[in-house]
C-alpha cells in the first residue's frame, strides 16, 4: 500500500488552482480558435493530475491503470467515430 503525503496533495491542489486562474484569464483574451484549444488542454492536464494523484492511479496496480486508461480509449472511439460522421457529411454533399 502506498500512502501519498499531504505535501504532494497540497502541491497538486496548488497546480490545479494556478491552472484554473490561467483558464479564466485566457478566456478574457481573444485568441480566436486557440481559445478552445487552450481551455481544453488545461482541462485535460487538470483531469490527469486528479486521476494520477488524488485518485492514486499513479501508485495503483497495473490492472487499475489499464482499467482507468480503457475508459478514455472507449470515450475516444465514441467521439472520433461520431465526429468523423458529422464532419464529413458536407464534404460528401459537394459531389451532388
Amino acid at each position: 500500500m502506498h500512502i501519498a503525503s499531504p505535501r504532494l496533495y497540497l502541491m497538486v491542489f496548488a497546480a490545479l488552482m494556478v491552472m484554473t486562474i490561467i483558464t479564466i484569464l485566457a478566456a478574457l483574451v481573444d485568441l480566436g480558435r486557440l481559445n478552445l484549444t487552450v481551455a481544453l488542454a488545461i482541462a485535460v492536464t487538470k483531469a490527469t493530475l486528479v486521476v494520477l494523484f488524488f485518485m492514486h492511479v499513479k501508485y495503483s496496480p497495473r490492472m487499475i491503470q489499464v482499467a482507468a486508461g480503457a475508459g478514455f480509449v472507449w470515450l475516444g472511439i465514441m467521439v472520433v467515430l461520431t465526429l468523423s460522421d458529422y464532419f464529413t457529411r458536407n464534404i460528401l454533399a459537394l459531389g451532388k
Binding site: F13, T23, D30, A43, V50, F54, G71, F72, M78
Partner: protein
Amino acid sequence: VSDVAHADAHAEHHPRLQHHFYSLEQQNYAATLGMWAFLLTEVLFFGGLFLAYTLYRWQYTPGFVEGSHHLDRWLGGFNTVVLIGSSLTMAMAVYAAQTNQRRKQVLFLALTILLGLVFLGVKVIEYGDKFEHHLVPGPNFQFPGPNAHAAEIFYSLYFAMTGLHALHMIIGVGLMSVILVMAWRGAFSETWYTPVEISGLYWHFVDIVWIFLFPLLYLIT
C-alpha cells in the same frame, strides 16, 4: 458450515475480511477495480452529453457564444475553486484513514461535505437567476436577437449537463454523510479503509466532470 465453525473462522482474521478473498489487500483491490468499472460507465454516460454539446456548438457557434455570456463566469470560477478544494479535503480524509487519525478523518469528511454543499448552494443561486431572466428552455424562454433558438439549445445542454452533475454532487454528499458517520464510529483504520477510498474515487470523478464543464459552458468566446 455450523455456526460455531463459522464464528471460529471469523476469529482468525480481520472482521472486515470476507471469506471469498485471500486477504484484505486482495479485497481492497477487487473493490477498487469494481469502482473503476462503474466510473468507466459514468465516463461514457457524461461523454454522450459532451459529444452532443460538441456537435451543437459546432453547428450553432454564435448562439452558444451569446448564451454563454449570460452565465456568471466568476460564480462558475468560484465553484471550480470550491470543488477542487473539496477534492483536496477528500484526499486528506483518505490519508487520515490510512494513518489511523480518526478526528482528522471526521474533520476532512465534514469539510468535503461542507464544500459540496457550498457548490450546490451557488448552483441554486445560478439556477434561480436563469429562471428570473427567462433563460430556462421551454414556453417562457426569451432571448434577444436572431440566435434565440440556438441559445435555447445551449441552455438545454447547460441544464442537462450541470443538472446531471449536480445530481451526482447530491448523491456524493449523501455518500460522504454515511462515510462520515462510519468514520465517527471509528470504523476505519490503516488495515481497512476501502469505503473511504472508493467513495473518494467517485468524488474526484465528479470533480473532473466539472473541470470540463466550467470552460465549455462558462467561457465560450
